[in-house]
Structures are given as structure tokens and as C-alpha cells.
Symmetry: C2
Subunit: 191 residues, 2 copies
């Protein structure tokens, strides 16, 4: 358990690498990729994304105050990476990546059709922190891929979506299931 | 790409499931597990954890305003789950789980020796959001398992730590590496 000291840094991993879609009309539709995202409150459901000020999407979302978080999968790995490297000032990212823009029902922004789960968000506060501004947001709607809804029990089978994780500069599939919430205190069934 | 609508909820996944350690002295040392955590700014390095008001650790951190985020691994899956289910009011969690409390060098809190990476945090603001309060924090130090530091190139080999992800109520190992940041625009090497 010997430890070495690093300079303070951003080392919380693994994280999601989500595609954030925004824009008021088709000509403005854009996608950016962020790992600085997460849930901050369960009730009401609230989340955040943090964006650098010079990002094209920062300008758009600062004005529209609405966006969609699109979860990403192994199949979307290359598109996810590309949308995080290139700028919407230079490319129509939906067209370049062959992604389908679907108007979100509850916010003024597009969703990515190929994503298994779309989270509609409304900004409640923009906090300037330094390199990044945090867009603290309310979740106002969730759209999910129909085929992941299990008919037999009505549960949502997110596992089958093949979500992708991001850790220290690399993308990974999810691997072996290690347990479920509460497994460490589950009573053993008598035989 | 048919979509079904859910009620708004907390569906950003996969997330880390980190053990948060806190307490001013050994008698008070406690551990809680949170998935509502992430990075909010790169420079200065800032992160957050969100805690329910009734959590024992909420009381401690509200007073000390310092804590440590301990990354979790496949080996720590059961301890991670247990620390999220049980309360520090009823158990000494370090002792119960056989975890080693190591005084953090830069904050008034213990770190978990068995974690591959410990992130020392200082609270800058507590935001009341509803079910959860968000502890917006500065990263003031990072300690890493010595054996993960590669002698040949000085890089930190986080991949070998075997980090664990949390997604929709289940814990997973990380699986196949899908690419690295920027892989979608990497120039092919000529043969």
C-alpha cells in the first residue's frame, strides 16, 4: 500500500463519455462530447455538464439554456471521440458522423437517434469555475430505445445497450457484472 | 430507433462508485459510497459529491469541510457496496470491512489504504438541491498506489488498477479497450 503523491488533478474515473446535443434549429444543431458530467440530485432529478468557454456548444447552450445528454455505446465510440475532438464551427457533426437528429419533445434541441438513452436538460444555473463553466441542470425528460424495454417485466434493460466508459484517456466497454446494489448484505437463500 | 418516454430521472451511466472517507479523528472516521460524483473543472481541479442530508457522512463533512474520494476496484466491490448500504452510526466501517485508515497528508480525513487512488478534497460550497446536497470541492492532493507508477515511462498505469463502474444498480469491471482520446482522427501509419 505504498503511496506516491501526484499534483492535484482530475482523476475521478471511470466516467461516462456522453454526446451533448444542442441548437435551436437544424442549421445550428451541434454535438460535443463531455466526460465532466454526472448526477447531482435524485429528487428533483438534476445533473450537470462542464464546458470550456471556447467550445462552440458553450455559446449555443448559454443562449438556449437547453440541451440533451445522449448516452454512448461501443458502437458509437468513434463518433463520440470525433465529436470531442472536432469543432461545430467547422463541421455539421450529425452529417459528418451519419447520426440522426431527432427533435426532442420537451426541449429546444435535437437528440441523437442512435443513442440508447436521451436525457433532456434545462439549465438552472451556469457556474464559472475556471477552465470550465458548470451548467447545473434539471432533467425534464428521458427517452429510451424501445427495444431495451423488456416486455415481460416492464424493466429497462440498460445492460444490453453496451454502454461505454471513459477512464484516464481511454474508452472501454463494460465488462463482467460484479454485483448489484445491496448484494453485499443479501441473505443467502436456504437450499 | 423507436423511442419510449420515461419520467424524468437520473440515468447518466456508467458512473464511478467511489468510497468517500471523512472524520477528524479515529473515533469519527467513516466511509460512505457515492455514485453522484464527478469532475466539474480541470483548472483549478474541482469535483463534487452529492449526499443525502440524513447520511452520517453529511454531518461530518458539513463540519470538517474536508474528505477523500477513494477510487474502487473489482477487489473492493463488496466493501464498496456494504459502505453504501450500512450507516456509520451503527458500524466502524474501516474495521468491519478490514480497510486500512491512513491519515491523509493534506486534509483532515483518512484515506483508504487499499484504494489505488485517493483524491483529497476541500469543500468550497454546499448547494442544497433537494434530496441531495452537492459538496462542490477543490482537489488539493492526489495519492496513488506506488506499484501503478511505471518506472520505464513515469506514466500512471490506472488501467492495471482494475477500476469498477456502476450502471443502473449494478457494478461492472471495465472490459475491452475501445480506443484512446483522439483515436478517431489518428493518422494511419504507412507500412
Amino acid at each position: 500500500m505504498g503511496k506516491v503523491s501526484f499534483k492535484p488533478g482530475t482523476m475521478i474515473y471511470p466516467l461516462p463519455a456522453v454526446m451533448v446535443s444542442c441548437g435551436e434549429n437544424e442549421g445550428e444543431y451541434n454535438i460535443t462530447t463531455v466526460a465532466w458530467t454526472g448526477t447531482v440530485c435524485s429528487d428533483p432529478p438534476m445533473c450537470y455538464i462542464s464546458l470550456r468557454k471556447d467550445r462552440h456548444s458553450h455559446q449555443i447552450i448559454s443562449r438556449t439554456r437547453q440541451f440533451v445528454i445522449n448516452l454512448t455505446t461501443e458502437q458509437l465510440a468513434a463518433a463520440t471521440d470525433w465529436c470531442g475532438v472536432k469543432s461545430g464551427r467547422d463541421f455539421n457533426k450529425f452529417e459528418s458522423m451519419g447520426l440522426t437528429a431527432v427533435k426532442a419533445p420537451d426541449v429546444n434541441a435535437p437528440m441523437i437517434g442512435e443513442s440508447p438513452l436521451n436525457i433532456e436538460c434545462e439549465v438552472v444555473e451556469i457556474k464559472e469555475l475556471g477552465s470550465h463553466d458548470m451548467f447545473l441542470s434539471r432533467v425534464v425528460g428521458v427517452l429510451a430505445e424501445e427495444s431495451l424495454m423488456k416486455e415481460d417485466n416492464g424493466l429497462f434493460d440498460l445492460e444490453s445497450a453496451g454502454l461505454m466508459a471513459y477512464s484516464h484517456g481511454k474508452y472501454y466497454s463494460l465488462g463482467r457484472r460484479l454485483g448489484f446494489f445491496g448484494f453485499s448484505v443479501q441473505k443467502k437463500k436456504r437450499k
